[in-house]
Symmetry: C2
Amino acid sequence: MAKILKGTEVNAALGEKIKASVDTLKEQGIVPTLGIIRVGERPDDLSYEKGASKRCEKYGVAVKRYLLPADCTQEQLMHTIEEVNRDSSVHGVLMFRPLPKSLDEEAACGALDPEKDIDGITIGSLAGVFTSRKIGFPPCTAQACMEILDYYGVNCRGKKAVVIGRSLVVGKPAAMMLLDRNATVTVCHSKTVDIPAIAREADILIVAIGRPKAVGGSCFREGQTVIDVGINVGEDGKLCGDANFEDAERIVDAVTPVPGGVGSVTTTVLVQHVVEAAERQTQKH
Amino acid sequence: MAKILKGTEVNAALGEKIKASVDTLKEQGIVPTLGIIRVGERPDDLSYEKGASKRCEKYGVAVKRYLLPADCTQEQLMHTIEEVNRDSSVHGVLMFRPLPKSLDEEAACGALDPEKDIDGITIGSLAGVFTSRKIGFPPCTAQACMEILDYYGVNCRGKKAVVIGRSLVVGKPAAMMLLDRNATVTVCHSKTVDIPAIAREADILIVAIGRPKAVGGSCFREGQTVIDVGINVGEDGKLCGDANFEDAERIVDAVTPVPGGVGSVTTTVLVQHVVEAAERQTQKH
């Protein structure tokens, strides 16, 4: 039976560091603050917002909401982004995406102050991930995968890591972060021939394709660590990952659960990034 | 015997396109112009500058040189970069690196106008490569590898591509560009365990490690296409690549020679980028 890599344990460890940083900031009179820009009322966004707000509250991080109707204009959105950029009491910004199709998402991301970009959506943050420099912040989800590996002492050096998925939110940044940790990294995707054969070679397997239980027993072998990024509603109406958890639990060495794995750590990383953004801005100004 | 993927053929095809673009620009009264910023007199830089200038001349692209002594100050360098940024007659800039250690290279790269960055050194260009967006330009060497694959009709889709090397000049950008072409991409490096076993899996093998003939017969198998990015002086005093050419020629399907392979195409890509930068700036202003 595989070891279950629980998000709660990772969160407890991250939480200690966050609390210490928040205390130090508060001694300087600074309340680290997350700005949330939400256009419309998509249930996914509302659910994530609720979780993020609760996690912020837990660690003493304030939340300011900037809400726009689903039919807002590009001008209204850009005006809101400028307002958030200018407001020095807001240290980190979460802007829900995808934006409604009537809006220019690339222009919106481009307008955000890179210093406040805590989720890897600006040019600066993306270049930072690619070059391993401290510019902006990597996407929280990719960072959450690394936090789990680090917390559970999974040494990546010289190991074979396979990332299934090549999105800018998880696949590509996770690949760069694994390279940074000296893994030999392979990126698979929808055009890959024989994913199972490649996945079985992995010592560390990161699954981020967005289809329920798409990665099953044929992709696993003994000795692997599996990080499951997916959050889907399965046929039985229950939450499930992109990996078949029952198969993984039976075959591999260690696997993250869904729910309670990557997703739960992602929310904590978001708070951590807000606090780090506040620290950087305080040191700078 | 492997097919030899000669740079001259690729250059001839690229050259046709470049000439057509240059003609169109000249009809609008624009002479595409490369600005070269060189600090000191390193033999490598002088040799590359000579080749690049000759290639520019061949295609009707002008060259302006901005030369600074090896002991120049950061202020002098930044002033020169600002001058080049402001000069609207200069469309693309090549700044030789590494800069002398007394200078802040990151600050210098950061100061360059991304629109004129034809060799992938600014944040904008690097994010462009990572996200597959048309921001700035990718590094010429990585682009040259792709031009060779494209010219010789090597279809990357679903193929296994292995990149040996993870630099920002070749390895990482080439990996992103191969992903874009729908290859399944593995990046190896100095910490990789058993490079030969991984390299033999590759359908397309890009070698960029900077050591003469470091990749030999144990890394090759029938059916491969090998792109050799290295340019080294071998024990016999002759130029050689990072791959053992004799081994490759005997075993694989196709291989680039050194000299006359990637390096020669890189210079043409540089000219191509200057011309494309001129086109973009003309459309914009």
